[in-house]
């Protein structure tokens, strides 16, 4: 059996990649994908720990997260699409209408 640490380290690496993606990339779609990556990193650690502790709670939460992520993906992509239709760009730097 693969030790639990391996899973957690992998999860950490994936999460960090996701964070870096959100912070550094300018393309909204990539940012969005990076967010998904973070979610899945967390899912990974949930599953691993569920297995380790022999509890179903973690797995239930993972299902829950996946459902939410699916909904989020649908809404998020729709927003990005309509933003693209209006502004003809998905570059995060140019989407600063909320700025003072």
């Amino acid at each position: 059996m693969v030790p639990i640490n391996y899973h957690l380290i992998l999860s950490g690496i994936l999460f960090t990649i996701g964070v870096m993606g959100v912070l550094l990339r300018r393309n909204t779609i990539i940012i969005f994908m990076a967010v998904e990556l973070m979610l899945n990193a967390v899912n990974l650690s949930f599953v691993a720990l569920a297995r380790q502790l022999g509890s179903m709670d973690g797995q239930v939460i993972v299902f829950f997260v996946m459902a939410v992520a699916a909904a989020e993906a649908a809404v998020g992509l729709a927003i990005i699409l309509s933003v693209f239709r209006n502004r003809e760009t998905v570059n995060a730097d140019e989407l600063n209408l909320m700025r003072w």
Binding site: V19, V22, L23, L24, I31, A92, D93, L95, N96, L97, M98, R99, W100
Partner: protein
């Protein structure tokens, strides 16, 4: 005339007809306001003097029914009750107020009659009589008030009427200003009066006597300490200097001559200006307790008497001469009060009411005849054209000059003798008074000679119109002339003894006995020399002492001084307070607080870049910080 210990008129007889004395003129006010304009001049001319005549009759009834050693009191309604403070709207007639109310309504009635002639060509006659009736009511309230607060109501009321009547011809800014000045200067005095009233009330209250009623105050005055009484008397005296035009608050009276002449006669000569004298006479038992207060009153009175007389000597406006003469005569009354000669002072108040009202009415008759000219340098030779006016004016001049046998002689002589012999008097006060008396005789006869004697100096068209006044005006003149002639024989000494105590004849040195006679003869003679026998002499003197002449003609520059020292600095300070302090400092602070909020908002919103990734970075930093906090 040392006052034996004063008898307090303690027996109070309750009656209910005194209120009518005040009520009738008030009805006249209502009539004039609401119906006067509609019913026309004729109705007004009958109603306005008529109500005053009714008042006079009621005063006379009260006078006749006056009980020996007692007073009539009419409590109309309870006015103000607040805690231990209680004041009734009550009127009181005792010998002093009976005499005052007879003078007020008697002289008042004559002046009302005179006014119907004097104001015959003025379109606003209803308004005029409304004010004049209101004045009569207020003055009656002042003299009949049973307590200090009702006296104060009348006191302020006459001030108001004075304001309205001085500025009666309101379209003239200068006249309106004169009215305002009178009211404000009086208010300064009233402030002192109020403080005196408060001090009196609470000091008596501390002794368990909660009252402002005169008889109660008199009964318990001895419980007060001399220091307190001195403070009370001096504060009340501040009020008297305002109302009775004494140094330093006399400045309004000469300006008050802007009003119609009958008003000057009634308010600014015969009645209102004597209110201060009346008030001190009313509270004489307090003043008698304090030597200091009496001394202050005497000194201010004597100083005013002389000071105003010197100004009167060089004035060329007929009414201004009379105005300064009034200030000076009031000074005599205060001198009398200050040396404890209350009866003499009140006596002079009465005779002065007769002859000074007569002088003003005579002056009014002259002004009327001269087509509103008031400068005596443009008059002259009126003797033959206005014989009645001249004759009565002559009587008044003799009376005020203290010519033996006429009313003024008796009262003035009494005051001067008392000033010399009284324990509160001194030879200096006497000397000042006597010199002033000589000057009075001089300036009054200067006025008489310049106005009525010699050749006319009026322009031909004015001279052509000169005429004797109508009967409605000359009639009061004659009545007042008779009173000025014989008024000196109404000796009030015994009549007022229930108030001021039984007088006894003062022992005066031989020379002092004839001081008034001498002073008046010298004054008259000097005036005759300077203005009749050698008319250039006055001119020569004026040139020789031009500095002094300037000083006097400009009334010692007191108005200018007040303007520079008080009025201007206060206005400048107020402007500064408004524009710098209020607008910049206080409001600036308020707006500054608002602007600080605004600026911090501006600063904080820089944080909101609108860039999602910046927000995400702050999340991360926050998350790491929290994590770090728990791990370490």
């Amino acid at each position: 005339m040392e006052h034996a210990h004063a008898i307090v008129p303690t027996v109070v007889h309750t009656v209910s007809y005194l209120r009518f004395i005040v009520l009738f003129p008030l009805l006249g006010v209502l009539f004039n306001i609401f119906l006067g304009q509609r019913l026309g001049r004729k109705a007004v001319n009958y109603v306005a003097p008529g109500v005053v005549l009714l008042s006079f009759l009621f005063s006379f009834v009260a006078f006749l029914r006056l009980p020996q050693d007692g007073a009539l009191v009419d409590t109309v309604w309870p006015w103000i009750t607040s805690g231990s403070f209680h004041v009734d709207f009550a009127l009181r007639v005792d010998p002093l107020s009976a005499m005052m109310s007879l003078v007020v309504t008697g002289v008042g009635f004559l002046i009302h009659v005179y006014s119907t002639g004097y104001m015959a060509h003025d379109e606003d006659v209803a308004r005029y009589f409304a004010y004049l009736n209101l004045f009569t009511a207020a003055m009656l309230l002042l003299v009949l008030g049973e307590n200090l607060l009702i006296l104060f109501v009348g006191w302020e009321g006459v001030g108001l009427c004075s304001y309205l009547l001085i500025g009666f011809w309101y379209t003239d800014d200068e006249k309106a200003s004169a009215g305002k000045k009178a009211f404000i200067v009086n208010r300064i005095g009233d402030a002192g009066f109020l403080l005196g009233l408060f001090l009196l009330f609470w000091s008596l209250g501390a002794k368990g006597v909660w009252t402002l009623s005169f008889s109660e105050i008199q009964a318990h005055a001895s419980a007060l300490s001399v220091e307190t009484v001195t403070a009370i008397c001096l504060l009340l005296f501040v009020g008297a200097t305002g109302k009775s035009a004494q140094i330093p608050l006399y400045v309004w009276l000469p300006d008050a001559m802007a009003g119609p002449t009958p008003v000057s006669a009634l308010i600014h000569a015969a009645t209102m200006v004597t209110a201060g004298v009346y008030m001190i006479a009313r509270l004489h038992f307090l003043y008698s307790m304090s030597t200091t207060a009496l001394a202050v009153v005497a000194i201010v009175g004597a100083a005013t008497a002389l000071f105003a007389a010197t100004i009167a000597v060089v004035q060329t406006d007929i009414k201004k001469v009379l105005a300064y003469s009034t200030v000076s005569q009031l000074g005599y009354m205060f001198l009398g009060l200050g040396v404890g000669a209350y009866t003499a002072s009140v006596f002079h108040l009465m005779t002065h009411a007769f002859f000074k009202a007569l002088l003003f009415l005579g002056a009014g008759s002259v002004i009327h005849g001269m087509s509103d000219e008031q400068d005596i340098r443009k008059m002259g030779g009126l003797k033959n054209k206005m014989p009645t006016t001249y004759g009565t004016f002559l009587v008044a001049c003799l009376a005020i000059a203290g010519f033996p046998g006429l009313s003024g002689f008796f009262s003035k002589d009494l005051i001067l003798e008392e000033a010399f012999v009284s324990e509160h008097g001194s030879w200096l006060l006497w000397l000042v008074g006597t010199v002033g008396a000589g000057m009075t005789a001089f300036y009054m006869f200067r006025l008489l000679f310049v106005t009525f004697w010699g050749e006319t100096r009026a322009s031909p068209e004015v001279a052509h119109h000169i005429h004797e006044s109508p009967v409605s005006m000359t009639c009061p003149l004659v009545v007042l002339a008779v009173l000025s002639l014989v008024g000196g024989y109404f000796t009030l000494l015994h009549f007022l003894s229930p108030i001021f105590g039984e007088p006894h004849e003062p022992h005066v040195p031989f020379l002092i006995r004839y001081d008034t006679t001498l002073a008046s003869l010298i004054g008259i003679g000097l005036a005759y020399q300077m203005y009749v026998r050698d008319p250039d002499m006055a001119e020569r003197f004026g040139r020789q002492f031009s500095g002094l002449h300037q000083l006097l003609a400009n009334k010692y520059y007191v108005d200018e001084l007040y303007d520079a020292v008080i009025v201007r600095p206060v206005v400048a300070a107020s402007n500064w307070l408004w524009q710098v302090w209020d607008t910049l400092v206080i409001d600036g602070t308020v707006n500054g607080a608002a602007q600080t909020m605004d600026a911090s908002g501006l600063l904080l919103r820089l944080w909101q870049t609108g860039n999602v990734q910046n927000y995400a970075l702050s999340f991360l930093i926050g998350a790491v910080a929290i994590l770090g906090y728990y791990l370490w």
